[in-house]
Structures are given as C-alpha cells and as structure tokens.
Symmetry: C2
Subunit: 225 residues, 2 copies
C-alpha cells in the first residue's frame, strides 16, 4: 500500500513536471516567434495548448482519486492540493502564451516597430520564474519558492516601463498604434505569467511549511528557511 501510494505520488509529480516543461517551452517559443518573425513557431505554441489543457484535467482526476481512495496525511494533502493549484496556474500560463502567439501572428505581417529588447528580457525573466518555481516544488525548497515570489516586482517594473514607452510611440505616431498595442498586450501577458509563477511559489511555501504567505509583507517572511 505504501509503495503503491509512493508510485501514485511519483506519477503525479512526473505529469506535473511534463506539463511545466510544455508551458515553459510555450512561453519561450512565443517570444522566439516574435523575435525571429517565425509565424510557424507561433502556430506550434497555439497547437500545444490542448495538450496542456488535457494534462490539467488528468492531474485533477489523479488528485481527486487519491483524495477519495486514501486518507492522505497533512503533508500529502497539502501536496495534492498544491498540485491542483499549480496545474491551474500552468494552464493559465499556457493561455497567456497562446494570447502572445496570436498577437505575434498579427505583428509578423508588418515590419517590426523597433528592435525588441525589453520584451525578450521580460519573457526570459518570467520563464526563469516558472522554472525556479517548479524546481522549488520538486526540491521542497520553501526559501527558493519565496525567492521566486520576490521577483514579481522586477517584472512589474519592467512592464510599467514598456507600457510608458509603447504609449508614447502611439501618441507620437498613430501609424504605430496597432503594433504598439499588440506589443503592449504581449507584455501584459508575460506580466500575468509572472503573477502565476508567483502563485506557484506561494503554493510551494504552503505545501512545504504549511504556512500561507499570500498578501503578507516582507517583514513577516524573514524566517522562511
């Protein structure tokens, strides 16, 4: 029974990591399709989404089955709830990557507005946050998970800077408006991906430490190991 249980938990963990790998790739490929002006890569991102959706359902089913058939202990319970929450955040990240890819399809029909510099940086940071959040889950490392949540401010700052820059493009030259707006929506979607990575970090802290750090101030969090 114990071994059977371990196998089930390991299968759930592996499936979640497979989902995380797919979503990470969607996030980076969506940006690559913009920078490289390769619409076929954007289309591949859009196609991947149904697989991500299906894995979320499979994970929900698997977690519900374990919850129903076994009497999980406190930490196992937190693990199962964390998996369902993380899967939900990954699914929404996948949706954001699809939004980006759809905007790229439109943008690639026109000449680039300007060299893309900050946007790829934003995408790279958010992708790193996703990877680090999932790593912290695998390693049950609450401190690393908490570090992920702290990077959200950096992303917000970068987003605000991009917002101002793109807004002034639009005001100064209305011919840039459609493109600038699509770039702005792309930035917004990466900012959302970072929010979801932050949620995962918070879920990992709760899973490992049994402590809810959502909406707390930094002073309350000094003692996370």
């Amino acid at each position: 029974m114990e071994r059977h249980r371990d196998q089930e938990f390991e299968a759930i963990r592996q499936l979640l990591l497979r989902m995380g790998g797919l979503v990470e790739r969607m996030i980076s490929e969506a940006m690559a399709s913009l920078v490289e002006r390769d619409t076929s890569r954007a289309q591949a991102v859009i196609r991947t989404d149904s697989e991500v959706d299906q894995i979320e359902k499979d994970l929900d089913d698997a977690c519900h089955a374990v919850l129903a058939l076994q009497q999980p202990t406190a930490v196992d319970l937190r693990f199962l709830v964390a998996v369902m929450k993380i899967a939900n955040d990954l699914e929404r990240m996948g949706d954001s990557a699809v939004n980006v890819a759809q905007a790229v399809e439109v943008l690639n029909l026109e000449p680039p507005l300007k060299p893309y510099i900050d946007l790829p940086r934003l995408a790279a940071i958010t992708q790193e946050m996703v990877r680090d959040a999932l790593d912290s889950f695998v390693r049950r490392d609450a401190r690393a998970a908490y570090e992920v949540t702290k990077r959200d401010d950096e992303v917000d700052g970068l987003y605000k800077q991009l917002f101002r820059e793109l807004l002034s493009y639009m005001i100064e030259d209305p011919r840039t408006t459609t493109r600038a707006l699509h770039l702005l929506l792309i930035a917004r979607n990466y900012e959302r991906v970072a929010d979801h990575a932050t949620n995962i970090g918070e879920d990992v802290v709760f899973y490992v430490e049994g402590r809810d750090i959502r909406h707390l101030e930094a002073t309350d969090l000094a003692d996370i190991r």
Copy 2:
C-alpha cells in the same frame, strides 16, 4: 459528528457567499465610479480587496482542516475542492476590479472620451455571470452553471467590438490615446472576470455531476441536466 460536519460545510458555504457578494459589489462599483466619475467609490473598491484576500485564506484553511480531520465522501470532497477553486477565481476577479478602479482614478482626472455605453453593458453581463455562477453553486444546478459558461462568447464578442472601436479612436486622434488605452484595459479586465465566472460554472458542473466540462465542445454537453 454528522451535525457537526453539516455545520462546518454550512459555515464554509456562507463564507464563500459573503466573498462572492463582496466581489460582485467590487465589479459593479468599479464601473459605477467610472460612469458617475466618482473617484471615492473607486478607492473604496481598492480598499475592499484586502478583505477578499483574507476570506480566500480563511476558506483555504477551513477546507484543508475538513480534508485533514474527516474522511470526506466523493461529493463532499468535490464540494471542498470546488470551494477552494471558486475562492481562487473570486480573488482574481477582485484583483481585476482593483485594476479597473486604478484605471478609473486616472480617467476621472480628464474629460470623458465619449459616453460610456458598451462598457457598462460589459460590466453588467459579467456581474450577472458571477451572480448566476454562485447561485448555481448554492442550488447545485449543473444546467444553470453550464448556461453561465455559454455566455462567455457574448462577452468576448463585446470585448472585440470595444477593442476595434477604441483602437480607431487612438489612430484617428492621438490625443485620445491614453484615455482609450485605459478604457481598453478596463474592458480587458471585465473580459477576464467573465473568464473566471466561466471557470466557476465549470467547477460547479464538476461538483454536482462529477464531470469535467472544461475545453469540451457543445455537442458533448447536450445532456447536462
């Protein structure tokens, strides 16, 4: 034991409905603060958010406690997981309402761009979706929950129409760009609220029927009671 359990479930249900009531009010007040040009109402929306955040935590704690201390049956288990998911969607709706209120603070400093007609309609539909989704949860009405999810297309259509309209404002007269952009972000936030209401509808169907309707086609769903 049975009576104690019923009391706990009833307390959870009541707390969720209280959270739903707060969020519904945030959604309508954020729009009212725009239409009535009343920034103090926007600020009240922003202040309400911390209460909503706290209730989500309390609900998570309560559900975890029941999961840990009792061995819930299949339907009770689905109830508890549904509550945690619904609370999460409500919390994000609250964040969207805050985003709207913050944009309103900026917009109310300038003369209105045009009479607001479609935007209040968008807000009203999404608010209705939230209310109907929560009602369907209370009445365990899978058919009503499914009806909520179908309204998402209407919202998407309205959002696309607003997008095109505001984009042409920006292109034709760059002096409108900042305002039009903030209105567009407001519309986008209501479109997200509708997405979350749709998620709640899907969670209610799963809770009531034990069936996962996410990402299915209408033909698969004809037999929902």
